[in-house]
């Protein structure tokens, strides 16, 4: 490409998240992702600040940039005030912009996130909602969650929620005017283009056009049951 560093540096957050990294490795020492994955935020900062285009491109095409959990523990600890977690967010943005994300298994999982979190925001105004947290997809929620979802109309009002009701309160129905305004903001600020790009690049890379199959593969790693 030859201009990847330039693309990264154009992000409005870039100047706040990467000054001169001295490679001390404190970010890696504190990083929960580095404990779980073969992941080293110190090295990522170094690759970017050295402006090595080949290595940056390899990063953008790899699973590596998708390991961060965005806890931002690195922000607190960096003695130079760098934020590897935000740098990761910028790398992910450019990877999605260029379609490179679809070349890695972890990157393709973005498809599942567009069909859950992003879809929820546009459909119902919230990132998550009990109607969209099915016990089948969330076995870790245990039998108490199954019970709640099954009896939510009886239980939620007891807890003060206004489940699917008008007016204010938890779990209420969100007015169409509010949803329309959120959608307009998504359209004008590039979110809809991003969601379209994720879908297009993932389908092209995998050769799978069926939404159900692609969701199952990118969410659980298995074919749909």
């Amino acid at each position: 490409m030859g201009n990847l560093y330039q693309l990264l540096s154009e992000d409005v957050r870039f100047s706040e998240c990467l000054k001169a990294c001295m490679n001390c490795g404190v970010c890696t020492a504190i990083c929960p992702a580095a404990e779980f994955y073969r992941y080293d935020p110190r090295r990522i900062c170094d690759i970017v600040q050295r402006r090595n285009e080949d290595e940056i491109e390899a990063l953008l095409r790899s699973d590596t940039i998708w390991y961060c959990g965005q806890c931002m523990s690195c922000k607190t600890r960096c003695p130079r005030g760098n934020v590897p977690g935000v740098l990761i967010s910028i790398l992910r943005k450019v990877s999605q912009q260029l379609g490179y994300f679809a070349e890695s298994e972890k990157g393709r999982q973005q498809y599942a996130l567009t069909k859950t979190i992003a879809k929820n925001i546009l459909d119902i105004g919230y990132c998550v909602h009990p109607d969209r947290i099915s016990p089948e997809l969330h076995p870790e929620q245990g039998p108490i969650w199954e019970w709640y979802v099954e009896h939510i109309e009886d239980v939620a009002p007891k807890l003060g929620a206004n489940y699917h009701g008008d007016g204010s309160g938890a779990l209420r129905h969100i007015r169409q005017e509010s949803l329309d305004e959120v959608r307009k903001i998504f359209q004008a600020t590039g979110a809809m283009d991003l969601l379209d790009d994720i879908e297009t690049f993932t389908k092209k890379e995998t050769g799978i056009d069926d939404d159900e199959t692609l969701f199952a593969l990118t969410y659980s790693g298995e074919e749909p049951k």
Partner: protein
């Protein structure tokens, strides 16, 4: 090291007239906590807190999962600020640690880059016709409970004391990463000496356990939990905290963020079912309470209206220790008073 280090890190917390912003996760998993918070502010403290009908998500989970661009999140946040402005409020209260982090990040970014603020104003005006003021004060709901912890203590019926031994209950607290790790100056006690929950625990009679992994992430990790294939990350990080706190034998865990609360509850269930292991001595797990649930319980609110029955690790043994009465026959009744079928019992975790 002085136990009063936290005192060097305080923040401004408005006295009254708050604009409440609803959390995706809190309303989904802990609607009773949200209702308790609003009730405590209005009925116990006599405060004005506005719950706007036109509010919605801040998109924080989408932003940190990289399916919502920063520019979009900034403009959605601007719409929420416009609702606050329209309603005549200046003090913004996002009911989620991730939201709190998003709002502080955006306002700090606007301070550093005024041109971005102007761009956001223009985008909001063009898309919705709306205008907004930046809040004078942004605080997490726990900051308000912390600020008025002594006033609430004076109204409480119970204390965090083991009624059998007379000793303070031992409490593990978890403030959640985005409360203070992104902008330590905006967290009571900073990221290193967290005191927002510890202050409540001490004021209400308990003892705070300072354990090695106190500041470690709960393991949410956004895409690391939201995508099923990645959930080992989430589970492993929460397990690391449990292993670290276990030797101190905590009576319960107190949380700031609704996500952390849910994970620390549900992953105990998963570990119990997978490995037949719990982190208490008796096989019931360590109860995990939100700060609203704790305040409500000590004020004498009904535990089944607070929503304690929705936790997978149940809280009756903790209530017994404190001496809080409860009617077990009411636990699984619906709003109509009809007894609902009991939930299935886990195989290993005792309930």
């Amino acid at each position: 090291m002085s136990k009063r280090y936290w005192n060097q890190y305080q923040k401004e917390i408005a006295d009254d007239r708050y604009f409440y912003e609803r959390s995706c996760i809190r309303q989904s998993f802990f609607p009773g906590s949200e209702a308790a918070f609003l009730k405590i502010l209005r009925e116990e403290l006599g405060k004005d807190i506005h719950d706007d009908v036109n509010q919605h998500t801040c998109t924080g989970i989408g932003y940190h999962s990289d399916v919502v661009p920063f520019e979009t999140t900034m403009t959605v946040v601007a719409r929420l600020f416009s609702l606050m402005t329209q309603a005549g409020y200046e003090n913004y209260v996002p009911s989620c640690v991730t939201s709190f982090g998003v709002f502080t990040e955006i306002v700090e970014t606007w301070k550093e880059q005024p041109a971005l603020l102007e761009k956001t104003r223009k985008l909001l005006k063009e898309t919705t016709g709306r205008e907004f003021n930046i809040p004078k004060n942004i605080v997490h709901p726990s900051d308000i409970i912390y600020k008025f912890r002594f006033e609430l203590r004076d109204r409480m019926k119970y204390r965090l004391v083991n009624r059998y031994t007379g000793k303070p209950l031992k409490v593990v607290e978890h403030i959640g990463c985005h409360y203070a790790k992104i902008f330590p100056k905006h967290g009571v006690g900073n990221a290193e000496f967290p005191y927002v929950l510890a202050g409540m625990i001490e004021a209400w009679g308990g003892e705070v356990i300072d354990y090695p992994e106190r500041r470690h992430c709960c393991g949410f990790g956004f895409r690391q939990y939201l995508v099923q294939q990645n959930r080992g990350y989430s589970l492993a990080n929460t397990q690391k905290k449990f292993e670290s706190m276990q030797p101190y034998e905590p009576d319960f865990i107190l949380t700031n963020c609704p996500g952390c609360s849910m994970f620390m509850d549900k992953w105990q269930y998963v570990i119990a079912e997978m490995e037949n292991k719990t982190y208490d001595k008796d096989g019931y797990g360590i109860p995990v309470l939100t700060y609203e649930e704790l305040a409500g319980l000590l004020l004498g609110y009904d535990p089944w209206t607070l929503g304690l029955q929705l936790h997978q690790v149940q809280s009756e043994r903790l209530m017994d220790k404190i001496g809080i009465p409860y009617n077990k026959n009411e636990k699984f009744k619906g709003v109509s008073g009809k007894l609902l079928p009991y939930p299935e019992k886990p195989e290993h975790l005792k309930v």
